[in-house]
């Protein structure tokens, strides 16, 4: 037989709650009932935080900002599957992930105001600073995973990146290394269909990003990224597997960036209004509310209360962020190394003198 089939690939897609708010009975029973309020409250908070960031930017009170609108289920559903002792390695668009992990919003605002202190992660959390060079954070998850393995700890690493990032060599090297060393890494691709003006279809000739895990010898799955229950379920399974020594997983969250790439972008130049409108109808809160209402977990009064609480928290965060003293110019030199060079010491004197 000159040609025989030596491998076959299956690409799986997970959805738990459909767009009409109907849940798959067998899957939904695997999730704790208490989780939906957490989903709803965190998404609401992140959305308000995001809305205010955009308006602060328009008022000139915040710099260039990358909106998370439409991607909240992918960010929050995944983040809530991790413990504070796990490690989170974000891209630059992961405000929702950080909020779900309990990162102070005042620091997030401060970061987007152009202040490095905003990425000084509080003790008790292991969240690396947002990564601006797209895709370059993937290999860091390998090293952190090696660290966990080396110390014999039961922790997992989340690394977040976009569909665009999946075209970088770092993606290949990161996944390959994690597969070879069977590391406790969860690769969370936030496929929001666009990398600035480049659509997902022009990013790779492959049909899905999830399927690439196949070639690195571990499991990949695509999830409905606007279904917070599906994202949570897939991530929780991957985290449990990682902590049990089962190695890495690639999760492709299939979602959509509803806003411009950043506040410096104008998406009407490259995508149609119809496409955006179609995705708006699929945004994550619609189905979550329908589902929760049926379960008796959602009411208008409840929502009002959640919004009130969230907007108070956001208001307070903005107030604190704006009340922070301006950054000390000397910090840019002071933090380069533990020991400063003689030149740096002279420069510090010049700056301060």
């Amino acid at each position: 037989m000159p040609i025989s089939v030596i491998g076959k690939m299956e690409v799986k897609r997970l959805q738990v709650i459909n767009e009409q708010g109907q849940a798959d009975a067998s899957l939904i029973s695997l999730l704790p009932d208490s989780i939906y309020n957490k989903f709803f409250e965190t998404i609401t908070l992140a959305r308000l935080y995001n809305q205010r960031a955009l308006s602060l930017q328009r008022e000139g009170r915040l710099g260039t900002y990358a909106s998370i609108l439409g991607q909240e289920a992918s960010q929050i559903g995944s983040a809530l599957a991790f413990d504070p002792s796990d490690w989170i390695i974000p891209s630059f668009r992961e405000s929702g992930v950080l909020i779900a992990m309990g990162y102070p919003m005042r620091l997030l605002y401060r970061y987007w105001m152009g202040d490095e202190r905003g990425m000084s992660c509080p003790e008790g959390l292991n969240i690396l600073p947002m990564c601006v060079p797209v895709g370059s954070q993937l290999t860091h998850s390998v090293g952190v995973g090696m660290g966990i393995k080396h110390k014999g700890e039961k922790k997992a690493v989340a690394v977040y990146f976009g569909d665009g990032a999946s075209s970088r060599g770092d993606f290949h090297e990161g996944l390959n290394l994690a597969g070879v060393f069977k590391l406790p890494v969860v690769f969370l691709c936030q496929n929001n269909q666009w990398a600035i003006s480049v659509p997902r279809s022009a990013q790779s000739a492959g049909a899905t990003i999830a399927e690439r895990a196949f070639s690195y010898g571990f499991e990949g799955i695509q999830v409905d990224g606007n279904d917070v229950a599906a994202v949570y379920k897939a991530t929780k399974d991957a985290v449990d597997k990682a902590k049990a020594g089962g190695g890495p997983t690639l999760i492709e969250c299939f979602t959509y960036r509803l806003d411009d790439h950043t506040t410096s972008d104008d998406a009407t130049r490259y995508r149609s209004r119809d496409e955006v409108e179609a995705w708006k109808a699929r945004e994550p809160l619609i189905r979550l509310k329908l589902f929760m209402e049926k379960k008796g977990l959602w009411s208008k009064a409840y929502e009002d209360e959640v919004i009130k609480k969230a907007s108070d928290a956001v208001d307070a965060a903005i107030k604190e962020a704006e009340a922070m003293s301006p950054p000390d110019a000397a910090d840019m030199i002071r933090f380069t190394n533990k020991e400063l060079t003689l030149r740096q010491k002279r420069e510090l004197e010049e700056l301060e003198g």
Binding site: D115, S136, T336
Partner: protein, 329 residues
């Protein structure tokens, strides 16, 4: 509005417009000139430098690539070897680092490695420098890295006019050229730019302002600050334009006249291009110098985000102080 002066049509243009027009002109002239990069096609580039070019020349010659800097530059190396004239765009200089292997290990040495059989006539355009209050890694000034590597030319325009003449020369050059576009200048200044094609030679600087007490060497956005700070000094200001190979003769003839030199740049002082220029002058014109060569440049620090941007970059006061020190020596 088009005006006719000395038989040449000129129109006021900013640097974005001048570079766009040059790319179009070169693509018209030579069908082997192709553009590739992230968002350069449909979106016309994040700074709109390639606006309209994909419509005009088609997606085969203006290629929106996947997000892959190493791939963009590596593919450009292959195209250049094959005889095309790729003009790659790296969206910001801070994202060129992933492509450094392709630049340093291949583009810069293909001619040498094959003893002239294969060459690498490619251009990498990238916005660089501080001043647009963007996120991290959008404001880098890493020009000295590229100057250090044999086989690569490094060019920095300071006006729409010289951007056009220099870019055309870079595209026609038979070796790899890193073409650094000061993002702060993209829309900040206008100059009259002739419609006709013209070439400004690589390797030549220009006297931006004549003077006799003090020579100032600068390039790109810093040129304008250095000139502003020179108010009150009888300073000769050299706009270097090509950082590598830099115009040794022009610098020498100027310092032989003034006996004093200040080099101003945004990049960190340590191992910046100022160090090379200072060493060159001390080797070649030591006897003419009335004062040590001074550098006024960025601190030894990570290029800060928006809030501290203005503190990192030498401002008018710091530059003036350098001039004074040299004058008082």
């Amino acid at each position: 509005m088009t005006t006719k002066q000395m038989g040449v049509f000129q129109r006021p243009a900013n640097m974005v417009g001048a570079i766009n027009a040059t790319l179009a002109q070169e693509m018209d002239r030579d069908k082997d000139v192709v553009i590739l990069g992230e968002d350069v096609g449909r979106d016309g580039g994040v700074f709109r430098v390639t606006e309209g070019l994909q419509k005009r020349f088609g997606p085969g010659r203006v290629m929106d690539t996947p997000l892959a800097e190493l791939g963009i530059v590596g593919a450009s190396v292959g195209m250049a070897i094959y005889g095309l004239r790729p003009v790659a765009e790296i969206q910001f200089m801070g994202f060129i680092y992933a492509a450094i292997e392709q630049i340093f290990s291949h583009a810069s040495r293909m001619r040498s490695r094959s003893r002239g059989r294969f060459t690498c006539p490619l251009v990498i355009r990238t916005p660089y420098g501080i001043g647009i209050k963007a996120p991290e890694l959008h404001s880098e000034s890493a020009e000295a890295l590229f100057c250090h590597m044999p086989g690569i030319k490094v060019v920095v325009p300071s006006s729409p006019y010289n951007a056009k003449g220099l870019l055309a020369s870079a595209i026609r050059d038979d070796d790899p050229v890193i073409f650094l576009e000061p993002s702060r200048l993209y829309r900040a200044i206008k100059s009259d730019v002739p419609d006709e094609e013209y070439l400004l030679p690589l390797g030549k600087g220009e006297v931006y302002q004549e003077g006799k007490d003090l020579t100032i060497v600068a390039w790109g956005a810093m040129l304008h600050k250095a000139a502003e700070a020179a108010d009150g000094f009888d300073a000769e200001i050299i706009d270097l334009q090509t950082l590598k190979p830099f115009d040794e003769e022009l610098i020498l003839s100027s310092v032989k006249k003034t006996g004093r030199l200040v080099v101003a740049h945004e990049a960190t002082t340590l191992c910046g291009l100022g160090a090379e220029i200072a060493a060159f002058v001390s080797e070649a014109a030591f006897g003419y110098m009335k004062a040590p060569v001074m550098r006024v440049a960025g601190y030894e620090a990570v290029t800060p985000m928006a809030r501290l941007e203005d503190d990192f970059n030498p401002g008018i006061e710091r530059i003036k102080r350098a001039y004074e020190l040299v004058m008082e020596y």
